[in-house]
């Protein structure tokens, strides 16, 4: 009774005592360390990391790769995410070399739709076919990324970061897919596949307009 639900006086005092320390640390941070932040205005690690996760069409497709891998089980579980980044980079290389790829946006939208349907209906084609499907879509995604790579970005930091972000999106898909081990998890994964397919369909409609 009469219980106080706010932070305890001790916690408030502790927070207040941290404030001056944080202010002092901020003021004393050497400005020289940040003076060259704009060496690559096109972006470095953070820009590269944010690039793949800033487009919903890319995000759902990357997550779907992991989800589908989980549905297929080993060895596809690790083979698809293992093969995706280098093949995607090959697509990026084509774009950077100035080689056009027709229907990139359609291909990206189709990747979400097709892999979403695969997860929704738990389709299990032979491994070579699954790898071929994923690799084909990886080329489209890579081409789009390569074409959008800012000319003044730090090339290696940017590339490394967006490859890592892509890999982490696959990991999210795999972890979601592992929910199939639990009761109700299978339904959850199939629903996630349906969501991916719907997003893919929406982007396909936009790409075909």
């Amino acid at each position: 009774m009469g219980q106080c639900w706010g932070p305890s006086p001790w916690a408030v005092r502790r927070r207040l005592s941290l404030l001056p320390a944080a202010l002092v640390a901020t003021v004393l941070t050497p400005a020289a360390a940040w003076a060259h932040a704009d060496l690559h205005p096109g972006g470095g690690f953070v820009a590269g990391f944010l690039h793949p996760i800033s487009g919903l069409d890319h995000v759902v497709a990357m997550v779907a790769v992991g989800l589908w891998g989980a549905v297929l089980g080993p060895p596809a579980l690790w083979l698809l995410p293992l093969a995706f980044p280098p093949v995607m980079a090959l697509g990026g290389l084509l774009a950077l070399l100035g080689m056009p790829l027709p229907g990139v946006e359609v291909g990206i939208a189709l990747s979400g739709l097709v892999m979403g349907v695969m997860v929704l209906f738990e389709l299990r084609p032979p491994l070579w076919l699954a790898a071929l499907i994923v690799a084909t879509f990886a080329v489209f995604h890579g081409h789009a990324h390569g074409a959008e790579l800012p000319a003044d970005a730090h090339p290696l930091l940017y590339s490394l970061a967006f490859v890592i972000a892509t890999g982490l999106l696959h990991l999210v898909g795999i972890l979601l897919g592992e929910a199939r081990r639990w009761p109700g998890g299978r339904l959850l994964v199939r629903l996630a596949g349906a969501g991916v397919a719907l997003v893919g369909l929406w982007f396909l409609e936009r790409a075909l307009q």
């Binding site: 050497p30 400005a31 020289a32 360390a33 003076a35 060259h36 060496l39 690790w78 995410p81 293992l82 093969a83 995706f84 980044p85 280098p86 995607m88 980079a89 090959l90 990026g92 290389l93 084509l94 774009a95 950077l96 070399l97 100035g98 390569g146 790579l149 000319a151 730090h154 090339p155 290696l156 930091l157 590339s159 490394l160 490859v163 890592i164 890999g167």
Partner: protein, 199 residues
Amino acid sequence: MSGPGPTATLWSHRGSLPLAHLVPTGLGPWGDGMARLVLQPLDLLLLVALVLLAVQSGRPWLDRLALVLPLSWLVGGLGGLVVGMELPMALPCAALVTAVGVLVTLGPALRLGERFLFGGTAVLPFLFGLVAGSSLAGHGGALPALLGEAVAIAVVTALLLMALDPPHPRWLALGLRVVGSWIAASGLLMLGWLSRQPL
């Protein structure tokens, strides 16, 4: 007309772009050199890829790698300082990182020969050190910067070797291959970027 031909000039200009020099950190040349490993991470990628390749193979000379790799890089770097002009090696270096990344991705199934592996872990750091040293040669405090980066390389190598001591559980073995595929992908993109740069 004297001087290098247009092809040589273009090639050297292209080669110097992504391996550019030192970023002042405010910590002096020693700290700038250490930071270079992270801010210009081609050397870092090579070192990670070589360590992964070595630990995947589980060779008995693994503990010697902690000494061989940084030392070889440092000797190359000192050679680069002596050369004194920036070597246009960005494309070959990116291609080599890509190739080592591909080898890591393919995993221990490749069964690479002992000499090939040990030679690679000694020769490639030397080459990369040579390029790094040559790019630092024009800077004031190039030697402490080179030493700083060599120390950073030694620390990272030792930490990686300690953390990845074989035998590996299955998930970690797969994780190493995934990291290899990321390195290969980054190297490929770097190659594309290098070819795209306006000269």
